[in-house]
Symmetry: none
DNA sequence: AATGAATGAGATTTCATTCAT
DNA sequence: CATGAATGAAATCTCATTCAT
């Protein structure tokens, strides 16, 4: 079972579209979204370009929908976990505890979306692509705001050190996304590797803020 | 004065080459190294492709030399700062205090090298390109090792928490490179912004490890 | 009511086919027969390609049938109007008086057939398409011959100036088709605009020949 | 000697560009601008697409420049011929006497521009293309105005019949462009064929207006 | 050292057409 | 009858690279 077909989305997505997105995420991850051609994606699907273009009007839109999906995955898992009655630290730990396994489960999507953070490659995009990338930006902002609010609350109630909020936020977000940069799933991986990694990163994040 | 022309290198570099590297870093940063064409770089230089091809045999080599320069910049500044007689924490703080201003000074280069971390975009490279990218990998490994040794020493002497060394290392490295992802120089920037940023990140890094 | 459904043909045409032809004429007119895709026609119909392919085996045949219809429209209206006992000038006037309103009534069809006069756009056609385009050529030739005979009679009986018959014929035919190039129906069009236009063009044609 | 290289333009045009325009006009004429591919044009040149794209940024621009050239050809020959002191009829005859040979000399260009009159194929055009087509429209309008003024003067001084000016103008313009639709140069063409054709069309045009 | 023309390989995209349902 | 998915061929366009000057 693949990441995309596993995810439960608001708008149900045709199986064919989800399969294409999974393949695109995989191929874009491996080769880089720019280097990978639509033919590469099609080959990975065992189909022709035509199938992809039947569902996505351009490579840019395909890429955007992969990124949108990446943003959705974590948002839907982590968003509902915030507990207004819990302490900021408890909330942050719970959020990280959900975030890390989710990005590892849907790793290819996140490997692709971080490419779009470092290379803001807009040479000539269509209106639809711009709209999609705007939505991605909005989703990302919303996701950041969940963390920003927790950090702010923590600073205000003294559980986190007095510090520049934006810098702290960006640093924590990058910290909990760090595995996207280096993680490679292995067969002989220790059973509790993900759990340990999650604990360590939660510890680091909380300590870094205190 | 630009980053490249400012930097003092082992092998002196012709002014023309340095100018081209600066332009390439800028353009690769803005458009992404894949999206940017050699013509884009030439246009930014106010020249034509010929000038670039006169100094660099291929786009891949140009990109590699930009990345190599990025690695060199921090390596040369941070490397000599390690003091065998100082505590791990003191060393780490000193290293970060040098690292952050340097990456901000030479930001475009680091925005480019980061791209090569997220997308393994080498489809078919020449021998020279492979050699250069190997050198980059070696330099990066060496730079990481400086930090790894400090972290290891800190864990052993108890000043840092017991934890998975690799995860800690990757996390700290990403933390101190975080500004590359979000920093944008501004005119009305507070005078001591860089100093404050450096302090905060050093605090976060050290706390995260403790 | 549309042009196609209004026309009374020898072979009765299914309503569906006529609707498709009307839509095709409209879309081919607006975008050009080459530029317009079958999908464009289908969209204009509020249907999908399948509906079109159910009735027409290929785009070439669809185009050919639009052109054939264009030729039929004027042929059927003007052909029977020739009166062997009338003078050439009277015949010519009567023919023009029928021709002009008819091409304005079925304008999209004629905008399409004109395209096929200026660009010989047949790269590789099927046997059926070739057969249809042959029939169009024959019809056109027959229609031209009606005029050619009138002109010839007029030159012979002295009512028209002595002149190269072919040049005169082509010129008159283009003259009476001129509105296809520039006419655009308007809401606030004077009631007798078409009648006046018809008169003026008949006058011009007859004078041009005298 | 080809049409393009023969023409004397305000802005001198590189020989290479002129050659490409000549080839494009020829190929667009034969196959239709839509049907003809850039490869077809390149093949006719004995070169590759690259050469064409080095000089023209898109097929649309190439087509536009062919059309612009078509408009320029007649404009530059006929424009200066108007003599304010001559009668409208004399002016019209002189203009036609220059117009006809010029369109036959540069026939392919005019076969192409005519295509753009009947198929207003704008599906997605770039800003540059739109600008060029605007310039074509302006040139065309200016050329028409030369004739419009003559016709108006003729109607006012009574040498031409009282009639709708716009209809008369469009009809005369189409009449004098009629050969573009049917003329095919032949080897065994009578020596004075062009002269005779010119005379006959001038006679027809003047008579049509009287 | 640098330019401008040209090439060739490959990428994106379009679209007529077929087919299963 | 009609749809939606899919194909395959071709078209437009890009661009790293080479070369003559």
């Amino acid at each position: 079972m693949t990441a995309a077909t596993a995810g439960a989305d608001k708008k149900p997505m045709s199986k064919s579209k989800a399969e294409i997105l999974d393949a695109a995420a995989e191929v874009f991850m491996k080769l880089g979204a720019d280097t990978a051609s639509i033919d590469d994606v099609a080959r990975h699907l065992g189909a022709t370009k035509g199938r992809i273009y039947h569902h996505f009007p351009s490579k840019g839109v395909l890429l955007a929908e992969v990124c949108l999906r990446a943003a959705d995955f974590v948002h839907e898992v982590v968003g509902p976990a915030v507990d207004a009655s819990a302490t900021p630290e408890a909330n942050l730990r719970r959020m990280i505890a959900l975030h890390i396994p989710e990005i590892l489960r849907t790793l290819p999507y996140h490997k692709v979306i971080i490419q779009s953070y470092v290379g803001m490659n807009q040479k000539s995009t269509t209106a639809l692509e711009r709209e999609l990338f705007d939505r991605i930006r909005v989703e990302r902002r919303q996701y950041e705001d969940i963390f920003r609010n927790i950090l702010k609350a923590g600073i205000e109630d003294g559980s986190f050190r007095e510090q520049n909020l934006s810098i702290a936020l960006q640093s924590v977000l990058l910290l909990i996304n760090a595995p996207v940069f280096w993680y490679k799933p292995r067969k002989n991986e220790p059973t509790n590797f993900v759990a340990d990694l999650t604990d360590q990163l939660a510890d680091m994040a909380v300590s870094a803020l205190r």
